[in-house]
Assembly symmetry: C2
Homo-oligomer: 312 residues x 2
């Protein structure tokens, strides 16, 4: 298997209209699979499964290919591309969805090539849990299956979501959603409940407060914790794609290292925070296009510095 | 000057009725000065300025004295002790105040002994900013003046609060209150605005998400940041006193080290988080009474472990 097929992502490819206090963008390139694969490509090339409509600009596909992203399974279907319209208020913490048009995504049937089925690492971005499970089942024993989800699925497809979680190793989820899924306001208790559903690592994204990771240790029945800061930012332009960029860098680094040792996972979390911090400094993938591994290393070092304290 | 007079705190001493999902306590020992001095005494003895009523149990004074806390300026006035009644809902994040009876605190006139005026470290707990300034002005050039405040004073005595901040070195404040005081939803921008009011260090307490500290660097005009995790807790019994215990351990360690070097401040923050984590595991000062320096060191090491990541 070549390097190209190591990391597979299934998710949305979108044309978004986004308004923040810092500007407005129309028909801008978005979607979970786009942010994920653009971020992961800083470390490891990835292969994308998704669908776009006939309105999807050819130049975006070209950009993805030039970035080294495999778009063989990014299909074009009759109709319009998945479209999201959102607005962020002054504090940028809450996205108000103004419109969601599934369009070609409504009848999306993910199809994987034989090569893709052999991928070692699979990321199921935030889509319908039944679709997520369908993709996971097509795979030939991947080493790690990671997924994202959201309150909508927790509320409306809890049963299906729990079924999908059975085949998932790493769950990446927002703070409030972790408590909702784990049915406890206490994160440790919520994590213990989620561990029973299948995942052995829960990456809880806490926005500007950083990330807390819970590792299940089957033998000791104790939870191991990793607590990571976020990069303090003075100028957040558009938070869209932060979580998917985080996941992309996280999985991309794991694929590049070919290891899921605890020390590698910790570094992957920090790299996820770093890449997400760049994403939110611009609209769409604008900032991601700008940065290279040197920029990533700079902020990695910065996070090391701001979280350092000496033994007493 | 003896060691005893190095650290001075002015704040409330209270008899609280507290209800949490885990139980109910009536007339339990509370107040900012109590939590502060009990926590600080793990590292350095302190002296307390405050007032209690005639109903205040003699045994509580005895406990404080036995702990090595100087209570010479803890006056007994005719009437009842300051009384707070609060209730925490299931998620323990929000305290609902059911009743606040100032009682003897209404006419509290802080008086300092000549020895106390020579203290090197002063903590102005969360009381009326005019009272805080009055105490700060009685001092003979203390090395560090630190203070806490809350939304009530920011909203109702903003002018007086800003006047007090002029003489303050370290501000310890909740996340939402820092944004409110600094008039920006962005913490870096808010901190820059607060720096202009006087403080050079802003300790932003973020509850279970940890603590972020902003250090003003006058020369480079750049902010230095320290980001500290909190101790993940499965069993929080009563959050009352967390912030004051944090401040107590923080200031107590600084007083014990006799240093305000950046590396000492970082350790002091971690120790603040550690001691606060014990406080909330019981009502009143129950847990603080139980623990010793070994317990503190254990959780310090634990925080080191859960925040560790290797260079890439």
């Amino acid at each position: 298997m070549t390097d190209k097929q190591k990391l597979l992502v299934v998710g949305s490819v979108a044309l978004d209209d986004i308004e923040t206090p810092f500007g407005r963008r129309e028909s801008s390139l978005g979607g979970s699979a786009v942010f994920f694969s653009w971020a992961s490509s800083l470390f490891s090339p990835s292969s994308m499964v998704g669908v776009v409509g006939e309105d999807f600009p050819e130049r975006y596909i070209r950009d993805l290919k030039e970035r080294g992203i495999d778009t063989k399974s990014l299909k074009t279907a009759p109709g319009k591309t998945f479209h999201w319209e959102g607005k962020y208020e002054y504090d940028l913490n809450i996205a108000h969805t103004l419109k969601t048009e599934l369009n070609v995504f409504e009848n999306f049937k993910p199809e994987l090539t034989e090569e893709q089925k052999e991928s070692k690492y699979l990321f199921l971005a935030n889509i319908d849990p039944e679709l997520q499970l369908e993709v996971a089942r097509k795979m030939n024993s991947p080493e790690i299956v990671a997924m994202d989800t959201m309150n909508f699925w927790i509320e409306n497809k809890r049963k299906e979501l729990i079924k999908t979680l059975e085949v998932v190793d790493y769950l990446m989820i927002n703070d409030a959603e972790a408590r909702q899924l784990g049915e406890s306001s206490n994160l440790i208790k919520a994590s213990n409940n989620i561990f029973k559903m299948g995942p052995e690592v829960i990456v809880v994204k806490q926005g500007e407060y950083g990330v807390t990771v819970f590792f299940a240790d089957g033998r000791s029945r104790k939870i191991e914790v990793f607590s990571a800061p976020s990069v303090p930012l003075e100028n957040v332009v558009d938070p869209t794609g932060a979580g998917d960029s985080f996941a992309g860098a996280f999985m991309g680094y794991i694929a590049a290292k070919g290891s899921t040792e605890n020390s590698v996972l910790r570094q992957a979390v920090i790299l996820g925070s770093v890449v997400a911090s760049y994403t939110v400094e611009g609209f769409s993938i604008d900032r991601l296009k700008d940065i290279g591994i040197k920029d990533v290393k700079d902020r990695f070092k910065y996070l090391k510095k701001i979280s350092h304290f000496e033994d007493i």
